[in-house]
Each structure stands twice: as C-alpha cells, then as structure tokens.
C-alpha cells in the first residue's frame, strides 16, 4: 500500500519541521527516529539548526537513489 503510494516519488521524501528538543544531537536522534518510525530506512538529515527551543530540521528519506529500479518508470511500462 505505502509502496504503491511512494512509487511516484521521483527520488526522495523530505520532512521539514521543527522538533522540540534540548540539544542538536537530540534533534538529530529525534529526526532520524521519526523517519524510521514512518518505515523509512535510507534516511539522512539534510539540514539542522538548533537554538534554545529546539531544532529546525529537514530530514530526508530516499525512495530511490540513482541507479535504483525506479517504480515510476516500471509503473509506466506496465501501463502501456
């Protein structure tokens, strides 16, 4: 189900948010943890800026890296 939903994502899914936390490391852990909890494995923090109240983050889950088998191509093939 989720896979089908993600198959039209060209390459990656970014989550942009603000995480309430008390250090940059905590922010990183929480950001990665968040993506993991959503079922993503290939995740990375693109950007994080921490200040007092928490961290502004952009955390990414790659659906396809270059060279992968892109479902948005195969899906189109099967349609034809």
């Amino acid at each position: 189900m989720t896979e089908a939903m993600l198959s039209h994502v060209m390459d990656a899914l970014d989550v942009e948010t603000f995480l309430v936390c008390s250090s940059e490391n905590e922010g990183k852990d929480r950001a990665i943890g968040l993506m993991r909890s959503l079922g993503f494995q290939d995740v990375d923090i693109v950007y994080i800026h921490y200040a007092g109240p928490g961290a502004r983050v952009r955390v990414r889950a790659y659906i396809y890296r270059p060279g992968d088998n892109y479902a948005w191509v195969t899906a189109q093939e099967s349609r034809q």
Binding site: E16, T17, F18, V20, S22, A51, G52, P53, G54, R56
Partner: protein, 611 residues
C-alpha cells in the same frame, strides 16, 4: 598585538585530505594577534607531523579534522604518537572540526576541542591562555526604542498646519463625549490593581461596575464564569506544563540577531496569534531564538466586536489569541527581557481598554488607527474617534509608543488617502504627548494592481511611500504588516524570498522596524507552523547579510510618485479640514470611499454618551 614574550608559535595541521577554511581563518586571526604560525600541507602522515612538531617545537598544535568512521582511532593514535615522542608535556594539542566536542577531545587525548560555531577569537584566547569570555562575544540584545531619534516636527508646513487644524477639530468634537469602552478603560485604569489581581484578589466593585458595561457574552463570564463559546479554559495541569516548558526553554535561550548591520537595519517583528497562548509562547520562543526583535499579539476579530474583555487563561481554535489579562500575562512571562511586545488596540470596541491592559501588563508598544478601524475594520467612525482619542491619551499615560497602521489600503483605499488618515492620528498623538510610529504598508495593494505602479518592480512605489512620509513628518517608520503582503504565494521558497527582498528594501530605506510574515502567509487552510516562521527569519537575515550598508536602488519613478503622493495627501487633508468634522469626513468617504472599498463600520454605532 602581543609582545615578543607573549608571542606563541602555533603549528596548524589540516589532517583532512583538503585544506579547510576554518584553519585558515584561525591562522589569519592568530597572525593578526601577532603570533607565529606555520600551516602544514594537508594530508600528511601522522608520523611526519610528529616529526615536524619535534623539529619546530611549537607551543600549540592545532589540528583540524572532520570526524568520520575510523577517524577517532586515527586521532587517538596521533595523540599516542605525540605522547610516545615525549612531546605532550612540551606543547598543547588541540583538535577542531565538525562534530568535535570537548568530551571527544578528552577521549582522543587532546587538550581542547573546538566544534562548529567556534569563533576565531575563542581559539586566539585559548592559545594565549586567556579565559574566553563567551558572554563578551555573545550577541547582546537590548530592547530598542523605535521612537528615540525623532522630533515629530512637521517638515511640510502646509500639511502640518492642516494636520494641527484637523487634530484640534477632533479634540473639540470628542469633548464631553464618552463610550462604554472609555468607561471600562477608566475602570480598568483606576480600580483594577494588577498586583492584587496576580494574588488572586478580585475587586468586587470593579467586577460589578465592569460587567454592567459589557456585552451579554462578557457579562456572562463575570456573572457565572462562562467563557466565550469559541474558547476553552486551559486546565491547571496544562498551565503547569507550560511553566515547566518555559523554565526549560528559557534556560537554553541565547540572544540572536537578524541584523547584519546592527545600527542601520530595522528591528524585525513577527506576528503571533495561533489561538492558543501556549502555542503562541512556543512560537515566540523560537522566533526569539532565530533573532526576532519584537512580537505582535494578534487577537481574534470577534474580540474587537465584543464590548468588554473576559478573563481566564483561554485557548481557542480560530485565528487570533483572545485578549484576557491571564493570556497576556502568560505571554509576557514567556518573553525574553530584550523582546519588544506589541499588543494591538487599533480597531475595535475595546481600543482604550486594550491600551490600559497592555500598559499594566508590561507591553512595549500598541497600535491605534481611527481611520483604518472605522473604514475597514467594522467600527463606527464616531465611536472609534471618541475611543481613539482616549486610547492615545492612555498610550501616552502608559508610555506606550503606538504604530498607526494603514491596512485600509488592502481594502482598496489609495495610499495617499490611507496616509492622510494615518497622519491625522499621528498628529493627534503628537498633540496628546504620545509617540506615534508611521506604518505604511509594503504591499501589492489593490490600488497598484489597478493603476499599475508595481508592474515594473516592487521597489519604486514602496520607496515612494517612505519618501513621501519623510517629506511630511520627522517620525519613526515601521512598514508592515507584514511587508510584502499579497506578493507571497503558498510556496515557501517564493514566500521567504519576497519577504527577504522587501526587508532588504526596507533596510535600504533605513526604516526603524518591519513586521514580517511566515512563509505560510498565503496559506489559509490552517494555522501558521513553527518551521515556516523560521523560514522568513532566516531569509531576512540572509537579505540583511547580503546588503549590509548597501542599498536597493529605486528608479526615478519613486521620487515622482513621492511628490504626487505628498500633493494628494495635502488635497485630502484640505478636504477633511473643510468637512464639518473629521467624523463626517470618514462617513463621507474623504479618507476612503465605498468605491474604493472603504465602508464606515457599524460596530458600536449610537453608543456614544454625553459625559
């Protein structure tokens, strides 16, 4: 410069495969301080570096290396080699780079570790054996007085005379008139003791007299404790959590700045009003942490149409946070001492009392505009004129500068008419000992959409507004609200960009403050989110960094339009002065007609009483 006795020899070692810029910056700082530095080529084997250390016998060895897998072991081995070579009691070993923390430096066998965000000055201090005063270099922030440098002198004599005549006319007209709002505001001023209130002591005389002056909704609160149907009282445990959150967050707050050129670039205000005071405070904290200088309280529009305030710590799921003494008091508790706080009074049926509450609860600024409030915000012109004068008096009494916003432009009123209204209120302020701040809009207004002044660029017409106002009065200017209004789309990059550019324009025009939107400005499907607030603060900071003391240059159209604007303002003011009264002028469309989208409001009509 250090003396020859204090001069240190420092070996700089890039252990990365490439030279890093940080080490070069540090080298420059050390050289400037008079130390002797030696920068090794990148990527030397550890043994060769040890050999150099032994030959050169520096006082300190500064190594830069980005951490990665296996690098910790490499650095630890390096420390071991230095130890085994008998160099560790002869020189200091310092590590710097991404992901380096003091604990890691200790673990790796170094004397000190400098991570990202380390200033060159910090490293120089370390090398010289001085304690580094982080505080001395930390951003210092004090509350700015936006009105400090202004005389409020008229620069255009004819307009000045007109404004004085109109202001005198208004003061004469309101003589002997009063309203429920004025009576409430005086009760609040005289009988409501904030210290007693904080102790939970309710003044029955105040409550009784006050509830008699309220709408049924507010009256019900005082009679039976019912709160407004759109609101919910925050529970005791929620308040406890807020307190814990605040204590925790405040302990971690560090002052931050958006401005790059401190003295010359405007103070930056954000607007909050999520509906929930708790969320407001959370948003305020992160805006402060990202450098906002001031915050503006947005209350719900229904609050302006209800006679009287209720109490309690109230949350609410619509736009705007309800003004109650508790809500304002909590918000104030959440603010850093250097943050400017504006509570808007400008437009409704509680204008003078809002000023009193704001003053008693420690706000720094308020907002008053009779013309806007009665032409585009639904309040009866006569009522708001009476209330407005009282508001300005209260603002003077509580020492609150107030901006005079010209949002009627957004309804379609041409800038020169909105400005005429703004200047009249400013002239009243001047007469009553208040400190008005002019607030022209930096927006893509209906007027320019129709007449095309922004077809070519967004610069000229906005610049013309500032130039025109400066030709008339020596007063502070705070474009808003928010700048770039109606140029923003739902796209966060576009939205942040246009805000940043408008901020840069405002800075070029050397205005005193700006209000900025979040990158959610154009989205109307729900509340603003935290991340979007930071987008525009970051974008504006970058804009300020980019321009510094440099300027955005307007074309010659700006001067032409400014001159036209001044002439038109004079014409409008003449008409107002010739009208039977200012209130008549408002009703008759002189400061904005129905064709232009201005409709005299009905809220509070026929509520003026004879004193």
């Amino acid at each position: 410069m250090v003396t020859c006795l204090e001069r240190r020899k420092i070996l700089l070692v890039p252990l990365d495969p490439v030279h890093d810029i940080g080490l070069k910056m540090i080298r420059r700082g050390l050289d400037k301080a008079g130390h002797k530095t030696l920068l090794l080529p990148p990527d030397l084997p550890s043994e060769e570096i040890i050999s150099m250390m032994s030959k050169e016998q520096p006082d300190q060895v500064l190594i830069s290396r980005t951490l990665g897998y296996g690098v910790a072991e490499l650095l630890a081995r390096f420390a071991d080699l230095a130890d085994a070579a008998g160099l560790r009691d002869k020189m200091g070993l310092v590590i710097g780079g991404m992901a380096i923390r003091p604990e890691l430096a200790a673990e790796l066998g170094f004397d000190a570790g400098f991570g990202p965000g380390t200033s060159v000055e910090e490293v120089v201090a370390y090398v010289e054996g001085r304690p580094y005063q982080r505080d001395a270099n930390k951003v210092k922030k004090t509350k700015a007085d936006l009105t400090a440098n202004y005389t409020y002198q008229y620069r255009h004599n004819a307009i000045g005379e007109l404004l004085d005549r109109i202001a005198d006319g208004i003061l004469g007209w309101v003589q002997g008139k009063t309203s429920p709002a004025i009576q409430r505001s005086r009760l609040r001023d005289n009988l409501w003791d904030i210290e007693q209130w904080r102790l939970g002591n309710i003044n029955k005389d105040f409550t009784e007299a006050y509830s008699a002056l309220c709408d049924p909704i507010a009256e019900a609160y005082y009679r039976s404790g019912e709160v407004h149907p759109k609101t919910r009282q925050l529970r005791a445990e929620e308040i406890e959590r807020l307190e814990a959150y605040l204590t925790d967050t405040k302990s971690r707050m560090e002052p931050a700045k958006v401005q790059h050129w401190e003295e010359g670039q405007p103070k930056v205000f954000i607007q909050y009003g999520t509906g929930c005071p708790f969320m407001d405070i959370a948003h305020i904290k992160l805006s402060e942490a990202w450098g906002a200088d001031g915050v503006v309280h947005f209350d719900p529009s229904w609050g302006a149409r209800t006679e009287g305030f209720i109490g309690d710590f109230l949350t609410h799921q619509e736009d705007g946070s309800v003004i109650t003494p508790e809500n304002l008091s909590w918000t104030k508790a959440g603010l850093e001492e250097y943050t400017l706080w504006q509570v808007r009074a400008h437009r409704g049926l509680n204008t003078p009392e809002t000023v009193v509450l704001a003053g008693k609860l420690g706000a720094d600024l308020t907002k008053i505009n009779i013309a806007y409030g009665s032409l585009a915000a639904g309040t009866d012109p006569a009522r708001l004129t009476v209330d407005g004068v009282e508001s300005i008096k209260m603002a003077a009494k509580y020492n609150l500068p107030f901006d005079v916003v010209t949002n009627e432009e957004l309804a379609g009123v041409p800038a020169h008419k909105a400005f005429a209204g703004m200047l009249i209120v400013a002239a009243l302020g001047r007469k009553l000992g208040g400190r008005p701040i002019l607030q022209p809009l930096f927006c893509y207004s209906p007027e320019v959409m129709i007449s095309g002044q922004m077809e070519q660029n967004y610069i000229d017409f906005n610049a013309a507004k500032i130039k025109a106002l400066r030709k008339i009065m020596d007063a502070p200017i705070w474009p808003g609200a928010p700048i770039g209004f109606l140029t923003q789309t739902e796209d966060r990059v576009q939205s942040s960009m246009t805000t940043s550019l408008h901020a840069a324009l405002a800075a070029s025009l050397r205005v005193d403050a700006i209000s900025i939107a979040s990158s959610d400005e154009a989205y109307s499907g729900g509340p603003i989110v935290a991340a979007s607030r930071l987008d525009t603060l970051t974008a504006v900071k970058e804009g300020f960094r980019f321009f510094g003391e440099g300027r955005v240059e307007a074309t010659s159209m700006a001067d032409r339009w400014a001159d036209e604007m001044v002439q038109n303002i004079e014409k409008v003011l003449k008409d107002v002065a010739d009208a039977p009264s200012f209130v008549d002028a408002l009703y008759n469309g002189i400061l904005g007609s129905k064709e232009e989208g201005a409709y005299p409001g009905r809220g509070g009509r026929d509520t003026i009483q004879v004193e």
